[in-house]
Symmetry: C2
Subunit: 225 residues, 2 copies
């Protein structure tokens, strides 16, 4: 069971992390109401603490709050997911370019190894493993870029679109498409070629946008074929 009532430190920060995890892990489904009193019981924290956590998560874009009407898990539509991907396209290309300028030799090895692992994961059909490596790669590129402002924004956007991202990763054939795109990003960054890195990142996110739309169209009417 994924019971979440067993927490050592009911501090404010912990509650935020706990609720965030519950949301991104799918324990709390979109549009589900988040009643302060209930969460207070579930996480063994006072209502004020829960309230503070909900405010924080609201600004992260994970929950929606309306005056005197309470909070609920925010449901991101396909349209919003596309918007988020468009923003990511711009920002990840910026980070990729910066990373290509600043990357160190040690980090080159790290990225290359990550690419090799991704290759193996796809070859072995390990979809969830590939998905995890995917996130690691994007995060590492952000870190190497040194653009903390962009990194922060991207991190928040990732939380909002994690459900769509995961659904996408599960589609058959998708890893085979995205793997070469990822390898191209790695190559360009490791070659200290900012322009090519930016273009590779842009192409990758463009592919993600197309796949998002296609996946949605296929899921809305899966029996029409």
């Amino acid at each position: 069971m994924t019971e979440s009532a067993a927490d050592g430190q009911p501090g404010e920060r912990s509650v935020v992390a706990a609720i965030r995890d519950a949301i991104v892990r799918g324990e709390f489904v979109p549009n589900q109401r988040l009643v302060e009193a209930d969460l207070s019981g579930q996480f063994a924290a006072s209502r004020a603490t829960v309230r503070a956590a909900l405010i924080e998560l609201t600004n992260e874009g994970l929950v929606e709050r309306v005056q005197n009407r309470g909070a609920r898990v925010r449901a991101v539509s396909l349209e919003e997911a596309v918007e988020i991907s468009e923003v990511r396209m711009m920002l990840e290309s910026l980070c990729a370019a910066k990373a290509a300028e600043r990357i160190s030799d040690a980090e080159v090895g790290e990225l290359r190894e990550l690419g090799e692992l991704m290759h193996q994961a796809v070859a072995g059909g390990d979809v969830v493993g590939y998905s995890g490596l995917n996130q690691r790669l994007h995060r590492r590129v952000r870190e190497i870029s040194g653009q903390r402002t962009a990194a922060q924004v991207l991190e928040r956007l990732r939380g909002q679109s994690v459900r769509h991202q995961f659904r996408l990763a599960m589609r058959p054939g998708r890893p085979q498409v995205s793997l070469p795109e990822h390898l191209a990003i790695i190559d360009a960054i490791c070659a200290n070629d900012p322009a090519r890195a930016a273009e590779a990142a842009r192409a990758h996110l463009g592919s993600v946008i197309e796949a998002l739309k296609a996946a949605d169209a296929a899921e809305v009417s899966p029996l029409h074929r």
Copy 2:
């Protein structure tokens, strides 16, 4: 005096807006401590309300909070201001391109009029008026773009860098430089030319970045000349 103790509705939302205004207007200077009890008195709201407001402003990037040490007005360094401008460069170019695709005839007239007003303000030496029009233009472009995700991010970044922006607008000769850049953005959007609009926005923000660095260098050692 700019006393802020006269509020009709001490609601939570109002307190957030009041504190935010106080920060962006410069009433609360960077690194100034924000003691919950004091603010509670100043804005005639309970400490819990003030606390909630501070959490919200923390996630907006205007306030810094450390465990058991309280909150203070976040000071954005030059480096951070440049980072913010880099992110803006990517996102505003995206919005400009989208706006060029979606703009209506009525909005074309609106933007052209805005451009004319900016021209007049610069010609008349009305620096603060030009600064206000500047913000209105950027906001309007974001709205027309329909990219709410990017618009939201940009709005938050604007709050963080408003001080640097304003300092920049005050520098002599700066309006004369930025005016043609703004007019180029307007022209491209009104001509339904996404590529040119994006490029114009990129060029404008690039100019802002250069000016930021130059302004800082000049202010750090203003007597060396």
